[in-house]
Amino acid sequence: MSRLQTTFRDLHAAGRKTLLPYVTGGYPDAATTVEILRQIDPQRCACVEIGIPFSDPIADGPVIQTSFSRALEHGFRLDGLFDALRAARDQIAVPLLAMVSYSIVYRRDPRHFVEIAQAAGFDGLIVPDLAIEEADDLAAIGRERGFPLVMMVAPTTDETRRRRIAAISEPFIYYQALAGVTGERSALPPDLVQHVQQLRAETGKPICVGFGIATAAHVQAVCAVADGAIVGSAIVRRMNESVDRGDSPPAIARVVAGFIRELAAALP
């Protein structure tokens, strides 16, 4: 069983809730990513999602798109980020999930991608543009190598698909709170609680909720029904603003880590 699976099994067994922060990898540079990860408390955050910058992120709203296009303009390369993470492995306590487009995974060849991601210190993978129809190979490679593939369920997913997704998603199911792209929303969808409870009843797997979760109050509300809350755009917006101000990597990391602590304080 992988480190990530153990973490979620223990959390679930203890009924403890967690925060999953998302940060754009290699933004504005790999050193900043490492600095942020060093400051994250694994007691509060079961893992961190590292978004891999991509030229055509169809599931992302303007905030994450901006971070991706800036990272790419500044010469982001996959190997540069992976090398930096590998070199800093001993300094990073929190497990890492790569959130990456299948365009990138396919280009590097799925098996090879999993190998280099593991070598860089990643513990698992989320591929937001890979539906179950195309996911079997990657899930099989993940099982073979102890590198779980987290699958997403959307409000538009019917029961048959929910069960199929739950069968391969490890170690938790990513429930997308709303139909749409990533981005901050002022309120949580009214049907969220009901959807999460239904998914839990059907699958019995840990469930983490993302998309539109932006504040400490949202985190608290989500964790009343789910195992974890995923916060992306609200964090990346602060990264964008910090970069706009011309902050140094340690200063950007302080901003991000500070906001993550603020969100984590809302965990029950």
Partner: protein
């Protein structure tokens, strides 16, 4: 009279290894719904009768197959026929697909239709079908293309559609597709995404090909009437590849007919400023499909270039990738400069101003036709008219 397409694509929407559905889970329900509705519509005579009636009475089909006498004399080789898709209502082949898809959207009870557009022809054709059938319409268009194709922007707005400039990425067709997909993820319950080419996730490549195959079926009949036989060569330009798929598809089983797709070589295949995906790309995943793409070693989409906004795309329909891999269709290319010369050549010799997209096919014909014997017949799919390009060509030629 167009017939109901009869053959079925492989269940998973694959053309050999190409195609598939690489999209976020949130869209899978809508793709399944579309697939099922299309399966039902496909076997429904009333649907095809309705569509064929619109194609005839509204779009002006069948489009003529015109013998280009002066072009033939000038090139001094094979006889050249032009399949006049430029004479369709709205000025291009795009209306064949949008009438079909907007009728499907109505069958599914969707009240809103979105589209992406490059040159603006698909945007205008979608806006037109929506105006006529009474659906709300929004069209995403790269800001760079909004500049290049101002006339079509005005036409879409006149037709009651919202035309939304896209400022992200390279601000061209690929970015318009990204933005349309993002809209669809939030609006999927009441909105249909009317994709403009034989691309994207299954079932779009199959649906668009089937709606465009009317071009090839008519060509076959008209060629029999004119010459009593099949043509020797069929030429069509390829961006996403819908006009080419439409004219090629009914001839795929006719092994004696050479099928040639012409990609945009931009400023030349040796540099990076081109859009020749099959010539210079490799298999990869983009916009929901596994196909040939222009990507770097990290899977990032490379910038592409063509003088023609409709060919300025770093991917290609997955069935073209398949035909390329099996060798059934040959793929060639023409540069910006060659296409601009061809734009002027056809205007002067035949009194037909072609769109810059099929001007690439004309440019290739100008090289190929003189090498063929005089008893050979070449059909060129003249996929659209060039009014939309006149201002941009005049600017490029220094005439303004």
């Amino acid at each position: 009279m167009p017939q109901t397409p009869t053959d079925a694509t492989a269940p998973a929407g694959r053309f050999g290894p190409f195609g598939g559905q690489y999209v976020p889970e949130v869209l899978m329900g809508a793709l399944r719904q579309l697939e099922q509705e299309y399966e039902r519509a496909k076997g429904d005579r009333a649907f095809w009768a309705g569509l064929n009636d619109y194609l005839k009475q509204y779009a002006g089909r069948p489009s003529p197959l015109y013998f280009a006498r002066r072009l033939t004399e000038q090139l001094a080789g094979a006889k050249v026929y032009l399949k006049r898709e430029d004479l369709n209502h709205t000025g291009a082949h795009k209306i064949n697909n949008t009438l079909g898809q907007v009728l499907l959207a109505k069958r599914m009870g969707k009240r809103r239709v979105i589209a992406e557009t490059g040159a603006g022809q698909h945007g205008v054709a979608t806006a037109t079908a929506c105006a006529m059938l009474g659906l709300e319409c929004a069209v995403y268009m790269g800001a760079e293309d909004v500049r290049r194709q101002a006339l079509n922007v005005y036409r879409m707005r006149l037709l009651g559609a919202q035309c939304i400039p896209v400022e992200s990425g390279q601000r061209t067709l690929k970015d318009a597709i990204n933005e349309a997909l993002r809209d669809w993820m939030a609006s999927v319950e009441h909105t249909h995404y009317c994709i403009g080419s034989v691309m994207g996730p299954h079932p779009f490549p199959t649906i668009v090909r089937d709606f465009q195959a009317v071009i090839g079926r008519e060509t076959k009949e008209q060629m029999h009437a004119a010459e009593g036989r099949l043509p020797d060569v069929i030429l069509a330009c390829v961006g996403g590849g819908s006009n080419a798929a439409g004219i090629f598809y009914p001839f795929i089983g006719e092994k004696a007919v050479r099928l040639i797709g012409v990609e945009a070589a931009g400023e030349g295949l040796d540099g990076s400023r081109h859009a020749a995906t099959l010539a210079r790309g490799r298999p990869g995943v983009l916009h929901g499909m596994l196909t040939y793409v222009l990507q770097d070693d990290d899977g990032q989409t490379l910038p592409v270039h063509s003088v023609s906004a409709g060919l300025d795309y770093p991917g290609v329909g997955p069935e073209h990738a398949f035909w390329h891999s099996t060798g059934r269709v040959e793929y060639a290319s023409a540069t910006d400069a060659e296409a601009l010369d061809a734009f002027e050549l056809l205007s002067r010799l035949e009194g037909i101003i072609p769109a810059l997209e099929p001007a690439h096919a004309i440019a290739y014909a100008a090289k190929l036709v003189p090498t063929l014997p005089r008893d050979r017949i070449v059909v060129l799919n003249l996929s659209g008219r060039g009014d939309k390009d006149c201002i941009e060509v005049a600017r490029l030629r220094g005439a303004t």
